[in-house]
């Protein structure tokens, strides 16, 4: 048996919801690598697939799609990979097409488009078990003959059935190199395609393969023309003439491709599928319940509440353990560095604190991705989008915006990654833009501190919980109009189509869900982890330097009777006051004066721009209770309750008045204070433009709303 060369590349393509990822996992056995295609936000997932005879090929899992007429970045990547036009990848040596055995004709539409590329093909008809249950019998040999002799294999990837046959089929395809039989076009369309190829070739100096000519002729999307460098002025006339030619033979040029393909497929499939007796699936019965006019939203709210509560409460325990672990490590490492105070501070506050700052979010992110995986694989995600679409469509978002926005209440970074499921690029951008408004869990300590120190003691626990809930809504209240302004007034887009398949319900396969959760978490650690870490070091340096030993002496001399601990805290406060951060805080304080912030709060606000949860420990330092302060610290509450304005018109009145407390919370609710979020936003929107716009919008909005809150409430109280 001949062995193809090492380093062969096979692309896995198919419609969404065909069990493609399950098949991919079964074929590669988790020997996978996840990377990114350069310049686009589409992940490149590949793995090593054993062909059963010791020979190995690289299998790349491409995003699911219905048609090669690209609409989303995901779909564009598939076309670019299959045609060999993507940076960093060679043209695949073969294509493994996955089709849903229960709906062959629709799945083969994509296959018949892929056929135009002339690559060797293996056709896998997955979910054969479901097809059998439904009473469908598929004659794979007949289908193989009709499609030009390519291997056609029935599988049930979920149960692991037929995987070995796929490996063998792939080996055979790579040896025999049989392409899928092409659609037979009417003569006039063949002529029109030739016209297009000739005109494009003459204008660009490149050879135009028939697959490219079809994309140029049939699609409203211009990505193929742009890739070839065929300018609008040059292509406009020849394309109009060619489309006129198609119209003359009785086809609307925009409908010709599906009409011809589906007609051809109907003939090709004649006698291939025989319907016998079988059970109808339970999907429509379940939908009657889950999409019921009244019960549907009730189930929806229940599922989302469960989802949200788990992200919050299940994650609380591992988060506490991680925090304990970080504190323990600090406690062990710090004393050994006592002789070197700067190194001690760098290691304890900078490095260990920096690693801890992002590790602590890992449990939430894992649970978030676990739930998103279950919702997606079970088929409920599409139903959630169906139920919620009406609430989002008016402001340019769509039903698929809902899950990223809900996830935003846990952490914006994984939510931004999950916006990739939105096909419409404008809705995707708008969703990514408003996700950081959601009140993430890092804002929680700020609300908790303020409510416990001021709202609770003064107004009782009822108001305390009400303010907590209210703060979680502030972001949402501003996010939706922001999306409206962005899509309708800035981007000026018309409402985009929202066509969504409601797939068959399926039991998620634990291995697939856990594996994807793991891959997403790894991506988070590698992307956000490094940013958070770097930023923590920078903030540490700004609040450590310059450090004058004389300050410590002066404080010790001024407070000779106080305990060593208290003096230590006072020294630390004095150090921060004269650090770069402290000086900057004092200089900038006038800007925040209308919001009722003194210089200490201002330092806290500035120090928390990279990561907002830093505010509590910074306030701990500036209010001289030590850096270890947490949201439930009694000392910090007391110090803040006692703080008075030292001078100016408000001299002697408490700094943390009701107005200032609410203004500060609103500021944190709206402000863009998270370096990793800004960095992820830049990465997901393909540049710093939108990241900068988000930062400026949120920060200015936070400042304005906070000022209004302070000025109004201070006059009322």
């Amino acid at each position: 048996m001949s062995t193809p060369d090492a380093g062969l590349l096979v692309a896995l393509v198919g419609n969404p919801n065909t069990g493609k990822s399950t098949l991919f996992n079964a074929l590669t056995g988790l020997r996978q690598r996840v990377g990114n295609y350069p310049g686009v936000t589409v992940a490149r997932k590949s793995g090593t697939c054993d062909l059963g005879d010791g020979q190995k090929v690289e299998l790349v899992d491409l995003p699911g799609l219905y048609s090669l007429a690209a609409a989303s970045p995901d779909e564009q990547v598939v076309i670019d990979v299959l045609s060999g036009h993507i940076a960093g990848d060679r043209r695949p040596d073969a294509v493994l097409i996955v089709a849903d055995a229960t709906n062959l004709i629709r799945n083969l539409f994509l296959a018949s488009q892929v056929a135009e590329l002339g690559l060797p093909v293996v056709l896998v008809l997955n979910q054969a078990d479901v097809a059998q249950e439904q009473g469908l019998r598929i004659d794979t040999e007949l289908l193989s003959r009709r499609l030009g002799g390519v291997p056609v294999i029935l599988t049930s990837a979920w149960k692991g059935e037929g995987i070995l046959e796929v490996r063998r089929g792939l080996a055979a395809a790579l040896t025999r190199r049989a392409p899928l039989r092409r659609v037979v076009w009417p003569a006039e369309i063949v002529a029109a395609l030739a016209d297009v190829a000739q005109a494009a070739s003459a204008d660009t100096g490149k050879a135009i393969p028939s697959a490219d000519a079809q994309r140029l002729l049939f699609d409203t999307n211009v990505s193929t023309a742009e890739r070839l460098g065929w300018t609008p002025e040059r292509r406009e006339k020849p394309l109009r003439a060619a489309r006129e030619r198609v119209r003359n033979c009785g086809y609307n040029p925009m409908a010709a491709e599906p009409l011809v393909h589906y007609a051809w497929l109907r003939t090709a499939l004649e006698g291939v599928v025989t319907e016998g007796l079988g059970k109808a699936g339970r999907t429509s019965a379940v939908d009657r319940l889950l999409l019921h006019r009244v019960l549907g939203p009730v189930f929806f709210l229940g599922i989302m509440l469960g989802f949200f509560a788990s992200v919050f409460w299940l994650a609380k325990f591992p988060m506490d353990w991680i925090q304990l672990g970080v504190d323990w490590t600090k406690g062990v490492v710090a004393p050994s560095l006592d002789p070197y105070p700067m190194l001690q501070s760098l290691v304890a506050d900078g490095i260990i604190g920096g690693v801890g700052a992002f590790l602590v979010f890992l449990p939430q992110i894992l649970i978030l991705f676990l739930f998103i995986g279950i919702l997606e694989d079970s088929g409920y995600m599409a139903r959630a989008a169906f139920i919620m679409d009406r609430l989002f469509s008016w402001c340019g978002l769509n039903g698929k915006s809902f899950v990223p926005m809900l996830s935003g209440f846990a952490c914006a970074i994984p939510s931004l990654l999950s916006t990739r499921t939105i096909e419409d690029p404008k809705a995707r951008l708008a969703t990514a833009f408003v996700v950081p408004f959601m009140s993430c869990s890092a804002r929680f300590p700020v609300y908790a501190l303020m409510c416990a120190a001021f709202i609770g003691p003064l107004y009782g626990p009822g108001w305390e919980s009400l303010v907590m809930v209210g703060m979680h809504c502030v972001g949402l209240v501003f996010a939706v109009p922001t999306a409206f302004v962005l899509t309708r007034l800035v981007l000026k887009v018309k409402p985009q189509p929202f066509v969504l398949e409601l797939p068959r319900y399926q039991l998620p396969k634990p291995r697939d869900v856990v594996w994807r959760m793991w891959q997403n978490a790894a991506e988070f650690v590698s992307k956000a982890g490094t940013v958070i870490f770097a930023i923590t070091i920078v903030v540490w340096a700004l609040s450590y330097f310059p450090r004058d030993a004389a300050v410590a002496e002066r404080i010790r001399a001024a407070h000779p009777t106080e305990s060593a601990e208290l003096v230590r805290a006072r020294v630390q406060a004095a150090h921060v006051e004269q650090s770069y951060m402290g000086r900057f805080g004092k200089a900038v304080q006038p800007v925040f004066d209308p919001c009722g912030f003194d210089w200490k709060i201002t330092v806290g606000v500035l120090a928390s721009f990279p990561a907002r949860e830093v505010i509590v420990s910074t306030l701990g330092v500036t209010y001289s209770v030590g850096e270890g302060a947490e949201a439930d610290s009694q000392d910090l509450r007391k110090a803040m309750q006692d703080a008075k304005w030292p001078e100016g018109p408000r001299a002697g009145t408490p700094i943390f008045s009701l107005a200032a407390v609410l203004a500060l919370m609103v500021f944190f609710a709206l402000c863009s204070q998270c370096g990793p979020t800004v960095a992820t936003l830049a990465q997901e929107t393909g540049g710093w433009k939108w990241a900068a716009a988000s930062f400026v919008t949120m920060t200015v909005l936070a400042w304005m709303v906070s000022m209004v809150v302070y000025q109004v409430i201070i006059r009322l109280t």
Partner: protein, 86 residues
């Protein structure tokens, strides 16, 4: 001839015409919704929009505004709507 958006839940119709210039219709055609295809309005979302339609063994959601331009024929040769089960 009726716009698809006017169908009642459970009602069948045969697609008479669509507008191939529109993005939505192109997506639907790729899924196999071509003139002559029998479809069924399965249900409306709890807020009345979008719609879920069934054709060729699959259920697809599309918005009310998008369903306005899909013209269906609800006359004779369509399957008779099954009576709603109690």
């Amino acid at each position: 001839m009726t716009p698809l958006s006017q169908l009642l839940p459970g009602q069948f119709g045969k697609l008479a015409s669509l507008n191939p210039e529109r993005g939505v219709d192109q997506r639907l055609m790729a899924l196999g919704l071509l003139p002559g295809m029998v479809l069924k309005l399965v249900r409306k979302a709890p807020l009345g929009d979008p719609l879920a339609i069934e054709f060729g063994g699959q259920v697809v959601s599309l918005r009310l505004a998008e369903a306005d331009n899909l013209i269906v024929d609800v006359s004779a040769d369509c399957p008779i709507p099954r009576p709603r089960q109690p």
